[in-house]
Amino acid sequence: MREITYRQALNEALAEELERDPNVFLMGEEVAEYQGAYKVSHGLLERFGPERIIDTPISENGFAGLGVGAAMVGLRPIIEFMTFSFSLVAFDQVVNNAPNMYTMSGGQFNIPIVFRGPNGPAHQLGATHSHATENFYASVPGLKVCAPATPRDAKGLLKTAVRDNNPVLVLEAELLYSSKGMVEPPDEELLIPLGKADVKREGSDVSVICYSQTVPVALKVAAQLEEEDISAEVLDLRSIKPLDEKAIYDSVTKTHRVVIVEQDHPFCGVGAEVCYRIQENIFDELDAPIIRVSQEDVPMPYNERLEHAVLPNAEKLTAAVKKVCYA
């Protein structure tokens, strides 16, 4: 194992999959000559050439659709959105074409495509640039959605996504690109299955269910709460859809208390689905009502203090954990 950044991990995943399969190509705004808006595709143009690392004009709907079409005839496109906020321009392709094709064609056309890029609020980018899109996309049958929080998960999930025969969204996180973590050496194949959650920290009093940018928040809060004798288990979903229900139930069966900390909005958010499934399947295990910590139900304000108040932050999570623990 060695320590690399989340950005490097994604870069390795891209390079390895491009190397492995000549049908894989990467397309998006500024991915080639500029080396990626966030430098995730750094060096790939030089290594794989302009036929496979392709800069596009600002035409999200066009190049997302190009990807779907190319997938229909056998290529395996990786489409980068500079951020998932811009994927909304391509909503029709991602929601209407990519996931419906297999059903509509009676199973003739599956669409092996990856849509990837940073998702979720970064820092003071305002309402148009701060969308957390996981709940929109996870609600669409036919799409798979993952949201890795660590370099290792980012690499393993992206590689798996490229090999999946369905449209998969890999929701990265701008605020995590420079974070570091241990990852297997490059000569060791690292594939992490979709639909497998991961216990990032063991605990016995409460399960904190999180993903993506809320994982570091949960880990920080769990460490602080340990000093107050609250033992929080941090369960990182990693995949939103498919959802690892077993891992969730295992954790809750152990702790009997749940806080879900999600990056999206409260109304119809990811946590609502998780919460519903817990009460439906293991209601008797619960010793307290589940609490969800999410964004506030407002478009993202630019002002830093208000933005902090809108986000699912450590203070809110701490309060929620104490409340479910009656501490």
């Binding site: 705004e29 004009p57 600002i58 035409s59 066009g62 148009t128 640039h129 506030e296 139900d297």
Partner: protein, 328 residues
């Protein structure tokens, strides 16, 4: 109908001082960004000043304007105070969008500045909607829609141009062609030899203007606006210009050469208008220095104003989600 203010009478020396205000504002914004007083993304307009000042000088105060995220200058040109603009960058309640919008989302309803839009080309259909409303109410206003060279390959742009042409709507599409969309040059983004040919595809009259020349931009926009007021129709201008700084504060702009930048700097829009006015005996060096000093002072005062303004209160977080502060 509003009384028409004859365009030629906008004082050129005043317009020069507006360009200076924009330039000094942007320089100060950059410095405040580096000092972390300004957050998020910040895109500077330095080098392009003649485009917005020329266009604004050619229209009435009640005409509509709308632009993309490189928007500080458009608000300033419309008369939004440097105080309100700087306060917005600082995220303060006294900002032109109450500190909720930030650099990319400047709005000023009173001055008919309809934003500040950060999704590339998403505002072009909005401009067409505003033009639709003008025609619907039989007014003689025009809408000026500014956007970058990077916007012309979005579906929204194409759909909007077709709608405007189809319904003959009073809108001037002003493409601020600064040759780059982030690191992508027009050559690498667009199949056409020149951007202006996009207009022809929709049967919209179009022309290229020198975007570094205040007078040329003003005269061309005035001519087009005049024609639109007589009989509503869309028009397209490609203003050839250049941004001196990187795309945003985080872009080192290593995709272009020093020589290219220097070439455009020599053609600086402020220097150019100054030289024209000086040659014609309408401006002395002392006057120019005084105007520049005033611009710098106004911007310094704006920084102070922004610093001293208060943050939007937490209790108001939900006040601007639904109209009239309604809760769902």
């Amino acid at each position: 109908m509003t009384a028409m203010q004859p365009v030629e009478q906008r004082d050129e020396v005043e317009m020069l001082s507006l360009m200076l205000l924009i330039r000094r504002f942007e320089e100060r914004a950059s410095q405040q960004y580096q000092a972390q007083k300004v957050g998020g993304f910040c895109h500077l307009y330095i080098g392009q000043e003649a485009v917005v000042t020329g266009a604004i000088a050619a229209v009435r105060d009640d005409d509509y304007i709308i632009t993309a995220y490189r928007d500080h200058a458009h608000a300033l040109a419309r008369g939004t105070s440097a105080n309100a603009c700087m306060a917005e960058l600082f995220g303060k309640e006294t900002g032109c969008s109450r500190g909720l919008g930030g650099s990319m989302h400047f709005f000023d309803r009173q001055r008919h500045m309809y934003g500040g839009h950060a999704i590339v080309a998403a505002h072009v259909p909005l401009a067409v909607g505003m033009a639709f409303a003008i025609k619907y109410r039989s007014e003689d206003r025009v809408t000026l829609c500014f956007f970058g060279d990077g916007a012309i390959n979005q579906g929204a742009f194409h759909e909007a141009l077709n709608l405007a042409a189809l319904y003959k709507l009073p809108v001037v599409f002003i493409c601020e062609n600064n040759l780059f969309a982030m690191g992508t040059s027009v050559k690498r983004s667009t199949s056409l030899k020149q951007i202006i040919d996009r207009a022809e595809g929709y049967d919209i009259p179009g022309e290229i203007v020198d975007g570094m020349n205040f007078r040329e931009v003003r005269d061309k926009v005035a001519e087009v606006a005049d024609s639109i007021r007589k009989e509503p129709h869309p028009a397209f201008l490609e203003a050839r210009t250049y941004r001196y700084r990187g795309h945003s504060m985080s872009d080192p702009a290593s995709y272009r050469t020093k020589q290219e930048l220097e070439k455009y700097r020599l053609d600086d829009p402020i220097t150019r208008l100054r030289a024209q006015l000086t040659r014609e005996g309408k401006l002395t060096n002392e006057q120019f220095d005084r105007l520049d000093k005033q611009a710098k002072e106004a911007v310094m005062a704006a920084v102070k104003f922004a610093e001293q303004s208060s943050e939007p209160p937490l209790e108001k977080l939900y006040d601007y989600t639904y109209a009239n502060g309604a809760k769902p």
